[in-house]
């Protein structure tokens, strides 16, 4: 019997990129500090040695410039992987990543696609303050033409990133600094994870909790806590936001009749509100209560530790929402 190998989230990301670069010369990595520095978060450690400076490319601090450059390259059929040190810094590249990449195929009437991956840390890293703690999912998922994936563990990080690199469309790949050192089982053998297939991480009958990325862990934590109180939760990890696997969510909510959405971005016009709207539309007659939502508070991200903790979604807030949606309080 072979013991399952365990690796870090960051190693899983690197394996995905390296394997794809080995199998396809069209794939290259570009970003700030990705080559000689080994990556600001060491995700690309060792890749420069293996692939050389033509394929692992350091850039100056010019997000708009290098994002646009890679989009131009992708128009010719190359498959760039663009690392943003943080998605917070992608805001200065909003025009190329939102106006060019996801619309090129449409605006050119099917002539030029844009097979590109933008990846980097999303969400609060820990006392980084408002400018550095962006959750871009709601902001960017609004745009048709792009796909968006948010892995929550090393297995998904690798499998989804490989799929992202092979996808013919622009993919926004949202990682979390807080997950980079988390370990998990990742098989040695090749695998990919299709987009648009949510994963039921915990089976349950009393309420469905839906989340993406890092907060999935808070949901599982909350589910354990609630189990002690006799509330049996189903936890769904959405994995990708575009395409959204609403069918898996709907199927679950029809069984549990209650739904809580946990979203690490702001509540207004968010992924949480989108899922709530779709669940209300599809499960109106099945619901025992309206969909409850757990978000970060509707304020800029604060610096002070106590304030930041109060602001972020956590297991306690999720427990409260589930108790409320199941009329247990």
């Amino acid at each position: 019997m072979t013991v399952q190998r365990e690796i870090d989230f960051r190693d899983a990301l690197r394996e995905a990129m390296s394997e794809e670069m080995r199998r396809d010369k069209r794939v290259f990595l570009m970003g700030e500090e990705v080559a000689e520095y080994n990556g600001a978060y060491k995700v690309s450690r060792g890749m420069l040695e293996e692939f050389g400076p033509q394929r692992v490319i350091d850039t100056p601090i010019s997000e708009s410039g290098f994002a646009g450059l890679c989009i131009g390259a992708a128009m010719t059929g190359l498959r760039p992987v663009v690392e943003f040190m943080s998605w917070s810094f992608s805001l200065v590249a909003a025009d190329p990543i939102l106006n060019n990449a996801p619309k090129m195929l449409y605006m050119s009437g099917g002539q030029f696609g844009c097979p590109i991956v933008f990846r980097g840390n999303d969400g609060a890293g820990g006392q980084l303050g408002s400018t550095h703690s962006w959750c871009v999912e709601a902001l960017y998922a609004n745009v048709p033409g792009l796909k968006m994936a948010i892995p929550s563990d090393p297995y998904d990080a690798k499998g989804l990133l490989k799929t992202a690199i092979r996808d013919d469309n622009p993919v926004f790949f949202l990682e979390s600094e807080r997950l980079l050192s988390v370990k998990g089982p990742v098989p040695e053998a090749e695998y990919t994870i299709p987009f648009g297939q949510a994963l039921v991480r915990r089976r349950g009958t009393d309420a469905t909790i839906v989340s993406f990325g890092r907060p999935v862990h808070f949901c599982l934590e909350a589910a354990e806590e609630l189990a002690k109180e006799g509330i049996d939760c189903e936890v769904i990890d959405g994995r990708t936001i575009r395409p959204l696997d609403i069918d898996t969510i709907v199927e679950s909510v029809r069984r549990t009749s209650r739904c809580v959405v946990v979203d690490q971005s702001w509540p207004f016009a968010s992924i949480g509100s989108e899922i709530a709207a779709q669940v209300h539309q599809r499960c109106f007659d099945d619901l025992d209560n309206h969909v409850h939502r757990v978000h970060t508070d509707d304020v800029p991200t604060p610096y002070a530790w106590e304030l930041e903790q109060a602001y972020l979604p956590n297991a306690r807030k999720i427990c409260e929402a589930v108790r409320s949606v199941t009329y247990r309080q």
Partner: protein
């Protein structure tokens, strides 16, 4: 014959010297080409001029919607630059793009039909006047956001180099031409792109179609060092040249050695291409910000008239063949308008195609426009 370079009243008064290092302009290069080649350029310039005249009419007739910017006055730039580059060298430009599309070889039918919002358009009517794409002719758009095409141009140059060197294990062989207006000089994206091109040794030529104005803003009101734009390039270690964009022979003489140099050295370059747009910025511009006097001065140096004069002096063109060219071009443009009118609007299903390459949810995958389909021809959408 010496001639001072054209400048708008508000712009430069003294063109900077052409640096000797990067493919120095070679006077007389174009004159040595066979007369048929130059007559071909003349035809292209006349075609663009006539096409734009009909574009303005169609816009007045409300057959074209949205924003529409015509290229009249600047024809020598697109035609001369296209001639200096190889047909496979990528080109990318801004929204004043009809001239580049036609110079590159797009059938005017598809260009007109695109503006008419018809399925026969180069982008099936999904892009419009500002977004002309032609994969077969290596035209990577038509981009509506001022300056947005400049990082894309760096990326196209990066890509040709990467394909040649990394994927195919050879030597970089292409040069990308990235056109921009003088207004784009003030966009951050342009400066990031120039820095990246300089750092990464990208074979891209930034051709600034310096027509002296961005909408109503004279270059000197919006751009520092407007009298010597080469300093912008110097800041990024990029060679710069100044070219008379009102004379197609001068455009070729300036661009051909530069294109050759960029290809050979795998280095970027920058061109201050002095030109002038005769018409307003877009279709709704009364041109209050400049004098009629200035306009007449440029119109008196019209690039089409000048090439005609040159060919007549060489006895390569007589009145009759010029008249024939004229008739021919008019006929072709009339035909493109008819063809565009006959092409149906895109079927409603097109709303959901070309969003993603693959099919999922409401999305219906992608398909090429008629222009690129092998079976495309007169039997296509635009029946006459």
């Amino acid at each position: 014959m010496t001639r001072t370079l054209p400048v708008s009243d508000a712009g430069s008064t003294r063109p900077n010297a052409v640096p000797a290092k990067a493919g120095t302009s070679r006077r007389g290069l174009a004159e040595q080409l066979p007369a048929e080649t130059l007559v071909g350029w003349l035809r292209d310039m006349m075609l663009i001029r006539e096409f734009e005249v009909r574009t303005m009419q169609a816009y007045q007739d409300k057959k074209i919607g949205g924003f529409c910017h015509v290229y009249i006055g600047q024809e020598a730039v697109a035609v001369g630059c296209t001639a200096a580059a190889a047909p496979t060298d990528p080109m990318v430009t801004a929204y004043r793009d009809h001239g580049h599309a036609l110079a590159r070889g797009m059938d005017p039918r598809h260009c007109m039909a695109e503006m008419f919002g018809r399925i026969g358009g180069c982008a099936k009517g999904k892009g419009g006047s500002m977004h002309m794409f032609d994969k077969a002719h290596h035209l990577y758009g038509g981009h509506g956001i001022v300056g947005a095409q400049t990082p894309l141009g760096a990326g196209l140059a990066f890509a040709t180099k990467y394909w040649d060197e990394v994927v195919n294990g050879g030597r970089s062989r292409s040069v990308t031409l990235c056109f921009l207006g003088d207004g784009a000089l003030n966009q951050g994206a342009f400066h990031e792109a120039m820095n990246l091109a300089g750092l990464m040794n990208l074979p891209v030529i930034y051709v600034v179609e310096n027509n002296g104005y961005s909408m109503g803003t004279a270059i000197g009101r919006g751009t520092t060092m407007a009298h010597d734009l080469s300093v912008k390039a110097a800041a990024y270690g990029i060679e710069a040249v100044v070219v008379d964009g009102m004379d197609v022979l001068a455009v070729y003489d300036g661009m051909k050695p530069l294109v050759d140099w960029c290809r050979e050295e795998c280095r970027p370059a920058f061109v201050d291409m002095r030109t002038y747009r005769y018409k307003g910025h877009s279709m709704s511009d009364p041109r209050k910000y400049r004098t009629r006097d200035e306009e007449e001065r440029f119109e008196s140096e019209d690039p089409i008239d000048r090439l005609v004069g040159h060919l007549e002096r060489r006895k390569a063109l007589d009145k009759e063949s010029l008249a024939e060219l004229n008739r021919d071009v008019k006929q072709q443009v009339r035909d493109s308008v008819k063809w565009a009118e006959a092409s149906p609007p895109p079927p409603i299903e097109e709303l959901f195609t070309d969003v993603y390459v693959d099919e999922w949810g409401p999305y219906r995958g992608t398909s090429l426009p008629e222009m690129l389909r092998e079976d495309a021809g007169d039997a296509g959408s635009g029946k006459q």
